[in-house]
């Protein structure tokens, strides 16, 4: 199977890599590959799917749906199948992936590798909770792992270190149809925002937060709740594309301020309920292809942390620091998480998670470093899918199951042939 020398980047485009990449199309291609780390569609912002100077396997063309059992909802797919394509094909037939991240371009392999969460994490747990089998190609051979096994736990959220995920079986859930009934409500400030999130009874719930609002409006935003439903809504067939890198002032503070003001006031003060196509609710950003170019050539970072429920005040202080800094972009999300996590290195914990994009500039990097320290102090955790700046020492305290994971991984890949830039940056595979 041939490799081509390629330049590539994480979704944030701040971290880049160069090296030989192979993109298998068939089972025969897959069987002919050497042991190397795998990537999906590289929707991880940082360096989780980068291997600078080393080989990389791009799984995005291994995307066939292999088997479906309507009695259970079990769908077996090749690991490169995208969540969005599965949703689009299966929802009209009454089925939906039980957990979907905020982009439909995430592949099943990537969703397992990061044990991703969706807008329903508080009720449904993480992606791995709905996986019933994972077929791995390890340096030593092929194995299938199932829930309950240590290898399964090490693979969910395992950043690809337990072997290449060739295919997996996920259990879909029944839905009445392929539209969403969405209720949007204004939250006028931080306390009201948390109260709406805490009080939500909906299956899907997420808060958009205006990270530029200060004073009494600090923490204001829109809480969106959704339920799958059956019906007919107008679909926008068109997607747009960002044709080139935007100039650096495109997301300057006054523009973000104005955008956020408008976005907040778009929802009437009394709130509203609307019917939307599934994709508009779950993957709002996917309609604009290559939107990551809006941040210009230098790229951007996303900061995402989760803190325990009791640390809500610490999160409040973090958000004030962000708001005061004037560095935030319009993409900011607040969500209440449940306890569900399927792997040793899974991100979720019961609490609140905050995710915000920042342009890749010195002041923003310094702010993110302070936010990371605050996260550690608050007993919280940073997300490997988003991180590109953390340091190894911080991460250890956040992921107490790291030693158990390391033991399993070392056994499978003693020579470290599956390591990626993220693994090396954070020393995740060494004892300290």
């Amino acid at each position: 199977m041939s490799f081509s020398e390629i330049d590539y980047a994480g979704w944030g485009r701040a971290l880049r890599a160069q090296g030989p990449v192979s993109r298998p199309e068939s089972a025969a291609d897959l069987a002919a590959l050497p042991a190397a780390p795998a990537a999906g569609l590289r929707r991880s912002y940082g360096d989780a799917a980068l291997n600078d100077g080393g080989q990389m396997i791009d799984m995005s063309r291994m995307n066939r749906l292999l088997a479906f059992a309507p009695e259970t909802g079990d769908l077996t797919v090749e690991a490169g199948a995208r969540i969005g394509e599965i949703a689009a094909l299966m929802a009209p037939q009454g089925w939906l992936p039980a957990v979907m991240p905020g982009t439909g371009f995430a592949t099943v392999g990537g969703c397992i590798g990061q044990d991703v969460h969706g807008k329903n994490h508080h009720v449904s747990g993480s992606f791995g909770a709905h996986v019933t089998a994972i077929d791995l190609i390890q340096p030593g051979g092929r194995v299938t792992t199932r829930p309950g096994e240590p290898l399964f736990r090490a693979t969910c959220g395992g950043l690809g270190q337990t072997g290449l995920i060739a295919s997996a079986t996920i259990r879909l859930k029944r839905v009445p149809g392929d539209i969403m009934l969405v209720t949007e409500q204004r939250a006028r400030g931080w306390d009201e925002h948390l109260a709406l999130l805490d009080g939500s009874k909906a299956s899907y719930c997420v808060g958009w937060i205006d990270a530029t609002a200060t004073g009494a409006a600090m923490g204001r935003g829109i809480v969106e709740e959704g339920e799958p439903a059956r019906g007919i809504v107008k679909r926008r067939d068109t997607t747009s594309r960002v044709p080139m890198d935007a100039p650096h002032f495109a997301l300057a503070a006054p523009i973000v301020h104005a955008f956020n003001w408008a976005y907040y006031h778009r929802v009437p003060a009394r709130g509203r309920s609307v019917a939307r196509p599934l994709g508009d609710f779950f993957f709002p950003l996917d309609r604009i292809h290559d939107w990551n170019r809006l941040y210009g050539q230098r790229g951007f970072h996303q900061f995402q942390c989760v803190v325990p429920l009791a640390s809500a005040p610490a999160l409040h202080d973090m958000l004030s620091e962000i708001a005061e800094s004037g560095l935030a972009s319009p993409l900011a999300v607040l969500k209440r998480m449940g306890p569900g996590r399927a792997g040793h290195l899974s991100f979720p914990m019961e609490g609140y998670t905050l995710a915000i994009d920042f342009p890749n500039r010195e002041a923003a990097r310094a702010l993110i470093a302070r936010l990371e320290d605050r996260t550690a102090e608050a007993g919280g955790r940073l997300y490997f899918a988003k991180d590109s700046l953390a340091r190894g020492a911080q991460i250890r305290a956040m992921y107490p199951e790291l030693p158990e994971w390391q033991e399993i991984v070392t056994d499978i890949d003693p020579e470290g042939r599956l390591t990626t830039d993220l693994i090396r940056r954070l020393n995740l595979r060494s004892a300290r």
Partner: protein, 244 residues
């Protein structure tokens, strides 16, 4: 009414999004090619995506012995019958220069095989008086050039064949569309920097739109119509000195 599609070269990287789309819209699929294990996986994908039936068919462009039998089976289907061919191979021109015997195979894959099959299928479609035949040719067939002129010659032959077939079948209501892709992001081009590269997803959209509008010849990406208009008008004395 049932819509049936036979896809020659169904394992083609370029074909997959189109196959998925046809299946999701409820077409009965006949997936034809050489690698039966891969075809079985594609058939499973089609059934899950919504195809009422998906069959695999052994098809080799270099062996016409079972074409009559395939056509016989297709003749037994009901509703509209449609066919599309993605078959083709492109060895490096340098390899061909070193072993000219490769030329026969290149011509069989891009021209003789698909044309033999489609010519057998034509009367069945003519009799039904509807349906579409789509042939994937290439911009390389519009003018012979240094880098791939044998492949280009085979595609030129196929384009000419399709043009004649269109002339014949148009009379009975069967539409024939020629597709001329420029570079598409497939294993043929992976890792190479090429101008106006498009994706298999975009090719699928262009083909479906072309069918809907009953276009005769489409270029994908569409910009290649313009590029090739320019290239085919470069005077030969100049062109023969160019290398790209």
């Amino acid at each position: 009414m049932t819509t049936t599609w036979i896809v020659l070269g169904a394992t083609s990287a370029m074909a997959r999004p189109l196959i998925r789309d046809l299946a999701a819209h409820g077409a009965v699929m006949y997936l034809a090619g050489r690698d039966m294990a891969e075809l079985e996986k594609l058939a499973a994908d089609c059934r899950i995506a919504g195809a009422p039936e998906a069959h695999t068919v052994k098809f080799d462009a270099r062996d016409a012995s079972n074409y009559a039998e395939i056509v016989h089976n297709l003749a037994a289907t009901e509703g509209t019958l449609n066919a599309i061919s993605f078959v083709g191979t492109m060895p490096e021109q340098s390899e061909i220069d070193a072993s000219p015997d490769l030329i026969a195979g290149v011509v069989m894959d891009s021209m003789t095989g698909p044309a033999t099959f489609l010519t057998r299928l034509a009367p069945v479609m003519e009799a039904r008086g509807n349906g579409v035949i789509v042939g994937i040719s290439s911009v390389a067939g519009d003018r012979g050039r240094l880098g791939n002129y044998v492949y280009g010659a085979a595609k030129a032959a196929f384009s000419t064949y399709l043009s004649g077939l269109r002339n014949r079948l148009g009379r009975s209501g069967v539409h024939v569309m020629t597709v001329k892709p420029g570079p598409v992001d497939t294993p043929m081009t992976f890792g190479k920097k090429m101008p106006f590269m498009t994706t298999p997803e975009a090719v699928a959209k262009d083909i479906l739109r072309g069918i809907e509008k009953r276009r005769n010849v489409i270029y994908t990406a569409p910009i290649w119509r313009l590029v090739m208009a320019v290239i085919t008008h470069i005077p030969e004395p100049v062109f023969k000195k160019m290398s790209f």
